[in-house]
């Protein structure tokens, strides 16, 4: 069992990390961490517009605009180096986590490994032992971000492990929108991305977090994320992975600690041949009247998806709903939906809805009767299946989300 990290000295934290260095994760295929290198060339700060057209295109696909149009700030980390860090709105902070720990003592005391246990598995262990920066994004109390902050973690060198640790803090009464993407350079054959993300949404604050993952066929990905939401806070997370990936396993957890706290976790997943995705969403409703929605739309086209969801109701008058919908396109592909409801108080309202299947022939014929060929009909149905309009998401980000889905169509259809 992993244990709480409160009041640990740096030395104690390291010792716990050390102990967990061979601890396999409960879910997902095991990765031999020694297959990936720590030796990475340092990269200088750059102007994003000086990147090659191909690299700029890859950033844009992951939602990161190299021109920084309509952005409050930008953070781009390539491999282990910060290549761009900008902030354009007062009251918002964009740092790398190394800087943040130096600048503020309280980051380590209050936030560092406080939502995610350092000894959860060998990946959290590696992120502490071989930590390679990550972003620190913060909205000061009462500050509302006009435009989203964009953040990108980019793998440019072949065979490396990127072990980032991100901290996001939305202080009391503030509002922050983040779009974050991960992408890889065209010549990267294999790499490992380990990403720790700890989110803290304070009283009455609102955070929307839209993450677009554009990996490649030989990349392994192990994000470890957790959020803590205080009274009246809102944490909205959208996760999109509709490009090939070798294996991805994550099960982010949101703890609603304050009353009336709300979270919505949406994920849109595609598994192409040889891709394995094991993705879940867990919400722990600890305070009265808190609300959670966990929704996933999964498409297996030759690959395998485990779509998990877990709602834990511990307080009165909480309401939470879980929805897993899976579509199997083509003859091969597996979707395994595992919705779990866990009521620990009599006055909870937990529900779930799960379905897995292929496209109904009747739906295809309905569209064909309106003049669409079979292929066009399937495309329209798939687009409809993935057309998730997300409440509370700024239109600008919805546009990026829609674009990411369109970019993924070539793998689905």
């Amino acid at each position: 069992m992993s244990t709480s990290n409160s009041h640990l000295t740096i030395k104690e934290l390291r010792a716990k990390a050390e102990q967990a260095k061979d601890k396999k994760a409960g879910l997902g295929p095991d990765i031999n961490l020694l297959d990936y290198s720590d030796q990475v060339e340092d990269l200088p700060l750059i102007d994003l517009t000086s990147l090659s057209t191909d690299e700029q295109k890859r950033l844009l696909l992951a939602g990161v605009d190299p021109q920084e149009r309509n952005r409050s700030g930008t953070f781009v980390q390539m491999d282990h180096s910060i290549v761009c860090r900008q902030v354009y709105q007062e009251g918002l902070e964009v740092l790398d986590t190394e800087e943040a720990l130096k600048k503020y003592d309280w980051v380590r005391e209050k936030y560092w490994w406080k939502a995610v246990p350092v000894d959860a598995d060998k990946y959290t262990s590696q992120a502490e032992r071989k930590w390679t920066k990550g972003y620190f994004l913060r909205a000061l109390p009462g500050v509302k971000s006009i435009y989203p902050i964009q953040a990108c973690l980019y793998l440019s060198q072949d065979g490396i492990a990127q072990n980032v640790h991100n901290i996001i803090i939305v202080e009391e009464g503030s509002e922050l929108h983040i779009i974050t993407g991960c992408a890889v350079g065209s010549h990267v054959k294999s790499a490992l991305h380990v990403g720790i993300s700890e989110f803290y949404v304070k009283k009455g604050a609102k955070l929307t977090f839209t993450m677009i993952h554009n990996w490649e066929e030989k990349i392994e990905v192990r994000p470890r994320s957790a959020a803590i939401v205080e009274e009246g806070g809102l944490f909205l997370s959208n996760y999109i992975c509709v490009q090939p990936v070798k294996s991805l396993q994550m099960y982010p957890k949101v703890t609603l600690e304050g009353k009336n706290a709300v979270t919505r976790l949406n994920s849109i997943l595609l598994a192409t041949p040889n891709s394995l995705l094991d993705v879940g969403g867990r919400a722990v409703l600890k305070a009265p009247n808190s609300r959670a929605e966990v929704m996933s739309r999964a498409i297996a086209k030759g690959g395998k998806i485990w779509a998990r969801g877990h709602l834990i109701g511990e307080a009165p008058q909480i309401k939470a709903h879980l929805e897993c919908q899976g579509l199997i396109l083509g003859e091969t592909g597996i979707i395994h939906a595992i919705p779990e409801l866990d009521g620990r108080h009599p006055d909870v309202d937990l529900s779930h809805e799960a379905s897995v299947g292929k496209i109904d022939q009747e739906e295809i014929e309905y569209l064909m009767a309106r003049g669409l060929s079979e292929e066009e009909a399937i495309a329209s149905i798939v687009r409809g299946f993935l057309d998730v309009k997300i409440e509370g998401l700024p239109p600008e980000l919805q546009v990026h989300l829609d674009k990411a889905l369109v970019a993924g169509e070539k793998y689905m259809l």
Binding site: E365, Y366, A369, G384, D387
Partner: protein, 252 residues
Amino acid sequence: MLRIENLRVNIGEKEILHDINLEIEEGEIHVLFGPNGSGKTTLLMTIMGFPNYRVLEGKIFLKGEDITHLPPHERAKRGIGISFQRPPTIRGLKTRKMAELANLCSDETANIDEIASNLNLEGFLDRDINYGFSGGELKRTELLQLLAQNPDLVLLDEPESGVDLENIALIGEAINCLLEKDISCKERRLRPKKSSLIISHTGYILDYVNADKGYVMCEGSIGCSGQPHELLDTIRKLGYEECIACQLQIPI
């Protein structure tokens, strides 16, 4: 417009339609009566070309072209449109999008908002197609799509079933609009006329639509044909049992 010759159709291993012959001229509206399970819907689905309805023998011609082996979308593009009796729900696909897709078959750009407004469907355009719609709403949504598609031959499967009295006139008006019966004679003379084959179990639709010819279908065959109101009167008086009995003795 439509000519059907000696058509025999199977669903699975079972022969459902036997030796159907039918001809609908340009501008004509024909009505197909018949008891439940007599093969009316099968005939419409076969004209539309759905693969589960396998043609064993016979031919279907649209405007002189043999379409017997064309897939449904090719038939839609050539001018056949159909309203489904029980249309499926497609989650995430909006009613507006569906109408826009149907409109791709037409040379004219449809004003979808206006059509929806005429059908009292304004609030439905941004909803998932057919999701949670009542019986009457489904029928009107089918007509919305057909009006956007603007076909030359309109196949309607029980357009009035499940529709409340208040909306039945609206459905009638929409059908007349679809068949361009609402425009002036002069205007109508300038363009190709629309034709239709309408299934009606009850015949109520005849109060709103001026049909030219009626058929009674029993057990997969067309038993008799004639003036639609006269046929309906007989059916109302004597019931379909009479048609079945009559047809078994003297098939026409």
